[in-house]
Symmetry: C2
Subunit: 599 residues, 2 copies
């Protein structure tokens, strides 16, 4: 056996910020060196950020990434880190075999690669690229990448270390399938895998399975941070060849996971070179061997392994929402947010998430009472403002409504929507005047059923609870109140419960007409949310929904509401994905769609 | 040689309307039978409409399509059309070899197929599916389909007729590559190929090339009609084995193209059955032979071939915008539209497109003068209303602006945007009150540079000129004025020029502050539009743009404007795609994106 101290740098890069991300890689490489690590690994596409979407098709961006990688290798050496092997993801392109100028299926323009490289001694030692390209859910990688066909195996202090990229773990065949035969003692997987509720154990199980398949330890480094609708949750892990968990990083926060591993010393003498091997998926993978340091290290004192405590379910969801919101604000250059505070649960939770994400001093609440607002609404909203120390102002909208009504003869829904849109005008005006980002308060139940006003309550730059069903909104609010005083990267240390109990227990209402209640027009959320989950997230048809026990007439009504609201969802701002299927890249349906589920 | 009269039914189905589309197929099959055709072919996915997007992943929809196909076969026979071979596209799924429950790359849930079938004698004779799946531009077919591997060859009156589907023509290998060896005398391609400016000759050239490759005549039937952001333009063609054009349908309109063809009689005796053949793309294609009628027909009088006159470029673009708008309105169940009429060229052109699409009696214009509106704007807008006979009303917004300003202290851009949003509130209120669809007046130059107000002038359900650069807006307006009195499916027969000359020649302005002109903040459109075309549609980087002759400082400023406006575009309504790359499915960039092109 040979000893090796490895470091997994679970960092938070920004899409497109090549210089900033390179700086991040240098900084965390230094931390790894300071910790005595013998190699450090960064996530998939850490140099460019991920996902870059169609930026991969822009030659200038691909070339900038290639140049940035070369510069990064030199800079690491210039700063005294040349001896530390640094593995990082970046964007590259294939230069041989694919003279492609315009996009065709499987041949995107410029033949871009989702690549990873070993940097050492000021140079790029070896490059490889993702073999299996995800093209489902939120991923469109057949559109923008060609597949890689190489497994780098690099000998570090007598241990052969192989590297693969993300989806290569998730699908059979490809480079992972030839790792066992390569004699590697450690398989290093670089990832950018987004958070989904209940996904963590799937990931650990997968790592364990692939470790057993490859017959060696597996180190999995994941990205952390928010990027538009995705939240990368970190949770980097190391498992032994038997699949046993050895070390685990905390979720949703940048972290350097350092672990001392006892690994099999490479058996055969070091022979650099390339060997093509047939993989079970019918492709040929070239094993590309390099030697950095052939001999094993003398024994050294082993540090204890770190296994982060898991977060409970609601803590995890809440952290995802806070991180997703914080990074959208920060990475888009904002310092403050504005939102309408209605006295209802949705805007109360969004305000709290915003406080936790960027500090209550940067949150600007606007109370916009109308003639239909209850006394309690304003009082409750003011209570929340006071508990959290938000900036706030009251802008009554009655005059504005009247100015419109003087010219327009409006009834029912048109009149209700007018109020919602006037409110949006106010917060958009404050956004334009003061440079705040507007946060939108709609939840997934609303978004699904179209129970919102286009350009009204749905208006804004980011929707923190867009992917959160109403029942979960209440659960999160109650959970958050249990955390008063707790200090964490996701929680502002409020001295008292940040959300007034009155807001949590009140009957949900949009307050757009006298005595309006959600349940006048929608079923109870305890009935609605499970039905929406089955229809939206599980794609179940009418008959399957009825067979699953949902009320037939409710099924038909709900399907119709969901289908008809597609045009509204298409104009909704992004928000953090927390479920297996969000409204966004995950679910792509035509607006013009005459299909109605029938018996 | 053998004679055969074939009919290509260039029809306009609606996505999801299985019953309506089946009715369309029966109706046009009867027309083909009445015209004495020996077979009739319908477009790709004619039974379901196209594209169905993620509906393909919904089991209930796939099964409904399968049942609808069987019902259609029986209905055709019941209505006396059982002897006519009917070829139509529909949605199917693979049932063997792929037990897939959840989506993975290349294995979408349920293994859906973009299929085509021959219907005859009340039954489904043979089924096949698209082999090459487009996954670039607006297409995401690796996400939703698995590939087909069969080439049906059906003997009809002694001629072997092979069928392929759309993308199978566009890429090498696959079923087209084995058609020559199959001995087919006619290759029938069923398509749903959307309009792009200047694409028509590419399509004809492709058909000619594939006909020569297959060594037989080729009949190409395309869909017609609007579906969200796509407009299918028809333009069905028949070419001889030498690639010579034999017949061509008009564009943008439903049409039955009937042609008498002299085709080689099948040489070998009829032997139904399946033969696997290796294709040059490394796949195996099974030739699936059937015989409907082995003997050739006695000679009959040949009808002259029809070759539709091509439309000129602007007529074609205009027809695409009218058809796209008409179908979005109609297929989404609207009968009328409302739009703000500013006196500027953009809203004037949109109003005219709307009049041409659904009749001026169904167009409701709102004039919303503010304190900054010029006298001329109202006069010009009223002139347009009168020329076209639109419904109109004037709603001055000064009172509403004041009602907001009383509560909010707004300056500069915030104040300008407020006016734009108040206008949007008015037309949205009229939409809600009267059930009109709101049309949005933004053009592609505006959308690219972010020169519009979110929830203001960008608000609405459909943007007819979303993909039209400003210079083309003027060209289209001038062209439309030359067509006064012309009767066509795309032009209302206005007695005089529908757009006042004063609107066409005036200096562009948003009129949101005193004396505002576009060129105070944007370069002249003669400079801007070519630069936007190179950056947006050709993905050229900063250096390439400068090398192409664009002014360096303008390049940097424009790139920045375009990149920063991504969040606005994401909330914009759909509009008809007319260029090689629209803002929509065609161009997918992150909102959070720190990449700035630099030297």
């Amino acid at each position: 056996m040979a000893q090796l101290r490895i470091a997994l740098a679970q960092v938070n890069p920004t899409v497109g910020d090549l210089e900033g991300n390179a700086g991040l890689i240098v900084e965390w490489s230094r931390r790894a060196a300071d910790a005595g690590a013998h190699l450090v690994a960064f996530p998939e596409m850490a140099l460019t950020g991920y996902p870059v979407e169609d930026l991969a098709l822009r030659t200038s961006f691909v070339e900038a990434s290639q140049r940035a990688l070369e510069r990064l290798a030199r800079r690491l050496a210039d700063e005294g880190l040349g001896d530390l092997p640094v593995i990082t993801g970046y964007l590259d392109r294939r230069t041989v075999g694919l003279p492609v100028r315009s996009s065709r299926s499987g041949q995107p323009a410029g033949a871009p690669l989702d690549a990873a490289a070993w940097l050492h001694g000021g140079e790029v030692l070896v490059r490889s690229a993702k073999h299996h390209l995800p093209n489902y859910g939120v991923f469109d990688e057949y559109r923008i990448f060609v597949r890689g066909d190489r497994l780098p195996v690099v000998r570090v202090h007598g241990v052969d270390v192989a590297t693969v990229i993300c989806e290569d773990l998730w699908q059979d065949g490809g480079p992972v399938s030839v790792t066992g035969g390569s004699g590697a003692g450690l398989l290093l997987a670089v990832n950018a895998s987004p958070y989904e509720r209940d996904k963590d154990d799937v990931r650990l199980d997968l790592c364990a399975e692939r470790a057993r398949e490859a017959g060696c330890a597996l180190a999995y480094v994941n990205m952390v941070g928010g990027q538009d609708e995705l939240v990368f949750d970190g949770d980097s892990v190391i498992v032994g060849p038997d699949g046993a968990l050895l070390a685990r990083a905390p979720k949703f926060t940048e972290h350097l996971l350092v672990a001392d591993l006892a690994l099999p010393a490479a058996g055969s003498p070091a022979e650099p070179g390339r060997t093509p091997v047939d993989a079970p998926d019918g492709t040929t993978i070239t094993i590309d061997r390099h030697v950095l340091s052939p001999g094993t290290l003398p024994a050294y004192p082993v540090e204890p392994q770190a296994v982060a405590e898991p977060l409970d379910d609601l803590a995890e969801v809440y952290a995802a929402l806070v991180l997703g919101t914080r990074d959208y604000v920060r990475k888009n250059g904002f310092r403050s947010v504005v939102l309408g505070l209605s006295g209802g649960i949705d805007s109360a939770l969004v305000a709290t998430i915003a406080s936790d994400a960027i500090g209550p001093e940067n949150v600007h609440a606007v109370l916009l009472p109308s003639r239909y607002s209850s006394e309690g609404s304003v009082v409750d909203a003011e209570d929340l403002v006071k508990r959290q120390g938000l900036n706030s102002r009251i802008v009554p909208i009655a005059d504005m409504v009247e100015a419109f009504e003087k010219h327009l003869d409006l009834h029912g829904l048109a009149d209700e929507n007018l109020q919602a849109r006037i409110r949006a005008n106010v917060w958009m005006a404050l956004s334009n005047e003061h440079g705040h980002l507007v946060l939108t308060g709609g939840n997934k139940s609303e978004l699904a059923t179209g129970y919102s006003t286009l350009y009204g309550d749905s208006a804004g730059g980011f929707g923190p609870i867009k992917d959160v069903f109403k029942l979960t909104v209440w659960e999160l609010a109650r959970w958050r109140n249990t955390q008063a005083g707790v200090v964490s990267p996701f929680l502002h240390p409020f001295a008292q419960e940040p959300i007034p109990e009155a807001i949590i227990v009140k009957e949900p209402s949009a307050e757009l007409r006298p005595g309006q209640r959600d349940r006048d027009t929608l079923p109870e959320y305890t009935v609605l949310d499970p039905l929406l989950t089955d229809y939206v997230e599980r794609d179940m048809g009418r008959d399957a929904l009825v067979a699953a026990g949902h009320d037939p007439s409710l099924v038909e009504r709900t399907i119709r509401l969901v289908d008809l609201a597609e045009y509204k969802r298409r104009q909704y701002p992004p928000g953090p994905k927390i479920t297996p299927k969000n409204f966004g890249r995950d679910r792509r349906l035509p607006i013009t769609n005459a299909w109605r589920e029938r018996t």
